[in-house]
Symmetry: C2
Amino acid sequence: MATLKDISKATGFSVTTVSRALNGYDDVNKKTRDKIMTIAKELGYSPNILARSLVKKQSKTIGFLVTDLKRESAKDNFMFETLCGVSDELSDLDYEFVLLSTTTSKQKNKTYGQMCAERQLDGVVIQGLKRDDPYLLEAIESTVPCVLVDIPVEGVNTGYVTSNQLESAKQAVRYLIRLGHRDIAFMNGSAHAYVSMVRYDAYRQVLQESKVDFREDYVLNGDFEELASKESALSFLLNHPEVTAFFCASDVMALGVLQATRELGLNVPEDLSIIGFDNILLSQYVSPPLTTVAQQPYEMGRKAASMIVHIVEGQDAPHEAFVNNQLILRESVAKNRR
Amino acid sequence: MATLKDISKATGFSVTTVSRALNGYDDVNKKTRDKIMTIAKELGYSPNILARSLVKKQSKTIGFLVTDLKRESAKDNFMFETLCGVSDELSDLDYEFVLLSTTTSKQKNKTYGQMCAERQLDGVVIQGLKRDDPYLLEAIESTVPCVLVDIPVEGVNTGYVTSNQLESAKQAVRYLIRLGHRDIAFMNGSAHAYVSMVRYDAYRQVLQESKVDFREDYVLNGDFEELASKESALSFLLNHPEVTAFFCASDVMALGVLQATRELGLNVPEDLSIIGFDNILLSQYVSPPLTTVAQQPYEMGRKAASMIVHIVEGQDAPHEAFVNNQLILRESVAKNRR
DNA sequence: CTGTTAGCGCCTTCAA
DNA sequence: TTGAAGGCGCTAACAG
């Protein structure tokens, strides 16, 4: 591969001049520049990023750190879509992109700081770290900037991008209210998950603002699983024929509720309206297609990438960004006709 | 971040000695080594890979080149799973991994060789290039080794990993034949994709060996897209009520055909049998669950990564590897009762 | 066993 | 407007 030296020899100019010409400095004679440019093109010159990074102390590469990238995560393509967004944006911004997949055990062999230093990463986008992952704290305290996806933490060179979790969940419940539903059950996920809490809050808040009594026994736990959700919904619906709508903290659980209705001979949405959360691919294929709240991981990826580059380049841009979730109206919800 | 120099100062040994101690050369006094090791650990030293790569002329990083990494490809997570396989294997082998996403237009700005040279990539794993992509030829002729996924090309420092594409596709068509189908349509993907050709060949060969006439007009083009496939199948099925089965070059297109049948009020599999290809997650959830040919992209990714590292390190290992596809019988196929 | 010297390819002073 | 010198952090060849 051609180097500056090669071009220097071929043109007769010094390496320094060649470097400046190629990097667009204006203290180079136009003729000189043209000649250098021409030869450079002929030789198929491309700067060696490693060498450049070494001296400039910045690599123009961003790491995308995920925990346990493995086959299983293919199921919800949330991570993949985020990755696509990050990749596209970084590519537009002319940054490189290395994928850093780590496991809890690996984090003991190499610190976060070392990982960044080795590659001289300019910044890192982080997704899906557990709250107790050692890397999380290291990342926040590290001098190399990072942007977190869906983990709201602020710091000097730390940013995050997340979605309007609460608002969008409220929107979903309000939609049911507006259609005349009053007896609305809530299928919650794991009580320990952050998103569960938020969606639960949304549920309660909307009931309150709508002057609908909150009933403890209308809140079920499906543990984010289809089967658990189905079982739970089955017995519940038997005991509560007055319930006309279900808000579920995830699509998977909504599918469980849907199954329960089938077994009970109920029609969706005539007898029971169902709203899910996530807009998983499947949700548009089931029958009836599921009304649900869609997240936009691709957008989040793009914003995260854009933000990390801004921070890295020292531009003072906001250190937080939000992507709007969207309520997607399909056919699992109808007016309450009782 | 600590450098060799820092350790050198802290220990009093020269940079060279420190380097050798840390890299496990045995011409270093045990005491010296211990001291150096200790200080290195204290200082949290991690070698600067960029600097090392620069002098060693090898970066210990492999590129994963894909065309058009974009949201749409999330539907069939083939690419993602391959990526996971590559990532996991490379991580085991202690190699780094950069994602190179390119589009046909981008390929004009920067040659393949330049792309590799910039990062001093040791090797590249390539997936999803079209046959007429400029990068493909460049890659094969390039001095930097590459391994292709699903594109069988051999060369000195070129290898490939693929599955028994032809055999498994033939198996699928034979299955239809055995169930009595004779009027079998074929939904093909992009004509430029290698896999399309192979599946097309399989289709033709089985027809021939079964003494079933091949009909040009039974071959449709769904461009690997659901919508295109649906549209195409719609008008086709209207004009060809005699057709009893569809072999599709991808599950996504099979879903398109499935949709078409719904619009036409046809029952699957009673009125029309459908076989897909890929075994995407969705295929087991649609109704009826799709009979399809399963690939193992994760395995292919691992093998590709392992192969590229072997080639890079000059070990003489085979330059081809195969992963077996499997025909998965579900409910979208039935006996021909006409 | 250890240190000196040299250089990977590039960029950034500083002189000319 | 151009060039020479120096150095980023690391390794390799050669002495001692």
